[in-house]
């Protein structure tokens, strides 16, 4: 069965942070269109702080997620502090006990992250938030697993669905967050959180695929 070691996989979080930091200006620009223009700033600050604490410390994926989640939750504030904070904290809790991560653990991890977000925010799919990326991404991943697809292929499906979900937010009227006060004026622009969520999921999926490949090579 395809799986990768939890231990030392914390560098996946570093590559997630890199993607977020690279897209700092872009994410703020999107947020500026229908929000307050700080999404990239907040995200880059939180992920950057977490990366500093993770880098060079040979962390497990669980520990790295926990570090990231805690930084977001306790030092960032805003909407993303609690929402992504709880997501990554839940990720960490779910995989904490697993020495290696297979598709089932991965799915459980994503799902508990989603549950965490929904427990503190009241957004639903279609409200033009990061859920419009996250929910279809998890569904695609689980669907691919149910169809018996290999773990890496399920990860590809996850990325495709995440990006499709993100793009779909263009056609949505925001029903939550700052943009919800704009009514029809929120049409035609991407949601900032949906965009950062797609970046996170893609970096996570690519990181996991790389680890799977390394395990496969190692066990050859």
């Amino acid at each position: 069965m395809q799986q990768f070691d939890n231990a030392s996989a914390g560098d996946i979080v570093l590559s997630i942070a890199d993607r977020i930091i690279e897209n700092r200006a872009y994410l703020s620009e999107i947020d500026g269109k229908i929000g307050d223009g700080d999404h990239g700033v907040n995200m880059a600050k939180g992920f950057g702080m977490a990366a500093e604490r993770i880098r060079g410390n040979d962390m497990s994926l669980a520990t790295a997620f926990d570090t990231l989640g805690t930084v977001l939750m306790t030092e960032i504030g805003g909407s993303m502090g609690p929402l992504y904070g709880v997501m990554f904290t839940q990720f960490a809790e779910t995989i904490e006990k697993s020495s290696s991560i297979d598709a089932r653990t991965f799915s459980a991890m994503l799902t508990s992250g989603l549950d965490g977000i929904q427990a503190i925010g009241s957004a639903k799919v279609g409200d033009k938030t990061l859920l419009d990326t996250l929910v279809p991404a998890i569904e695609a991943f689980d669907g691919a697993n149910a169809d018996g697809k290999p773990f890496p292929e399920a990860l590809d499906a996850l990325v495709v669905a995440a990006e499709k979900g993100r793009d779909g937010t263009k056609d949505l009227v925001a029903r939550i967050g700052r943009a919800s006060r704009l009514g029809e004026r929120s049409l035609g622009v991407l949601d900032a959180g949906a965009t950062s969520c797609a970046l996170i999921l893609k970096a996570l999926a690519l990181g996991a695929k790389e680890k799977l490949q390394q395990s496969a090579t190692a066990s050859d």
Binding site: G32, D38, G77, G78, P82, L83, R181
Partner: protein, 328 residues
């Protein structure tokens, strides 16, 4: 970006250091800049705590002191503070009679204050949502909390100072919030220091009608109108939303967004006052100045709070904060 700063990373902490040093007679800074609190607490008094993203100075730190808040938690610019900050503030100012969180209605603020409230005991929350810029909607988020928050904090602060208990304070705050309506207009964008450029583009002859205090878009982009025309649309929106309640004594609050000078604010006051008084409202109390700002944005908001004898007396009660002071 043209600002007085040394580094975008330290704007907030340097500014807070200066703020507390300038008002060291009444204020103390919490560890790691987590909060600003009153220097002298009043044991047995319900503690009022507010906070939110920075960039709205003097809100909320400038409203900490006798007769208003006990502590304020400053987040990063336009970003809610963290639950950690609120927990530290509760610990510092709760003298046993409980705490009331006064929270402006933004997703981020509400979630962070919620988390802090859940993690502490004796804390009750209330949310302000006075902005009528965007029509009432079926969306769950509801209206934004804007300049009317100051009015809530002043009136509830006075009642707390006089010894009112936690539950009636929350009820009073909700009553004042319910009697308050605001709406703003921007002539220029604000510039978030970390972003380094204006949040939105706006043409020379344009204004953003119904703008939020974080530079969020409002009702619509429009061509720049006369002061009277702007005041009329805002005042009529406020009156329309208040409906039958828009009769009798009221507080008129003209709030500058940071880049608009007093001369223009008083001109807007003149215009708004005439409109309200021609529509059955009697302006019995007034406040004009930049109190709930949006960094350096040029623009202003108009807030009307319908008053009764109790709330009028509480508005008049002594207050001694960095930004509002009278009677002592």
């Amino acid at each position: 970006m043209k600002k007085f700063l040394n580094s975008v990373d330290t704007v907030l902490t340097e500014s807070l250091d200066g703020f507390v040093a300038a008002h060291a007679d009444i204020l103390v800074l919490g560890d790691e800049h987590k909060f600003v609190r009153r220097k002298v607490l009043k044991p047995g008094k319900v503690a009022l705590i507010s906070g939110g993203g920075s960039g709205h100075e003097p809100l909320h730190g400038g409203l900490v002191g006798h007769g208003m808040l006990d502590a304020a938690c400053p987040g990063q610019v336009f970003t809610s503070p963290t639950p950690n900050q609120m927990l530290a503030a509760v610990e510092a100012v709760n003298t046993g009679a409980g705490c009331l969180f006064i929270v402006k209605n933004y997703e981020g603020d509400v979630m962070n204050f919620d988390m802090a409230a859940e993690m502490s005991e004796g804390v009750v929350q209330m949310v302000t949502n006075d902005d009528v810029a965007v029509e009432n909607s079926s969306y769950t988020t509801g209206r934004r909390g804007v300049a009317g928050t100051l009015v809530v904090e002043k009136i509830v602060g006075a009642a707390a100072e006089q010894g009112m208990a936690l539950k009636p304070l929350k009820a009073l705050g909700e009553r004042v919030n319910g009697a308050t309506r605001s709406m703003g207009v921007a002539l220029t964008s604000c510039t978030v220091p970390a972003a380094g450029k204006p949040t939105f583009d706006i043409g020379d002859g344009e204004m953003e009608f119904g703008v939020g205090i974080h530079g969020e878009p409002g009702r619509r982009r429009d061509t720049l109108k006369s002061a009277d025309a702007i005041a009329e649309e805002i005042c009529l929106a406020i009156l329309g939303d208040l409906g039958d309640r828009a009769k009798g004594p009221a507080l008129l609050f003209i709030n500058g967004f940071g880049g608009t000078p007093l001369m223009e604010l008083y001109l807007m006051y003149n215009s708004a006052r005439n409109i309200f008084e021609n529509n059955g409202v009697t302006v019995t109390r007034s406040l004009v100045g930049s109190y709930v700002t949006s960094l350096d944005m040029a623009g202003c908001s108009i807030t009307l709070t319908m008053l009764d004898d109790e709330t009028t007396a509480l508005w008049d009660a002594p207050v001694h904060t960095a930004a509002l002071r009278w009677g002592m």
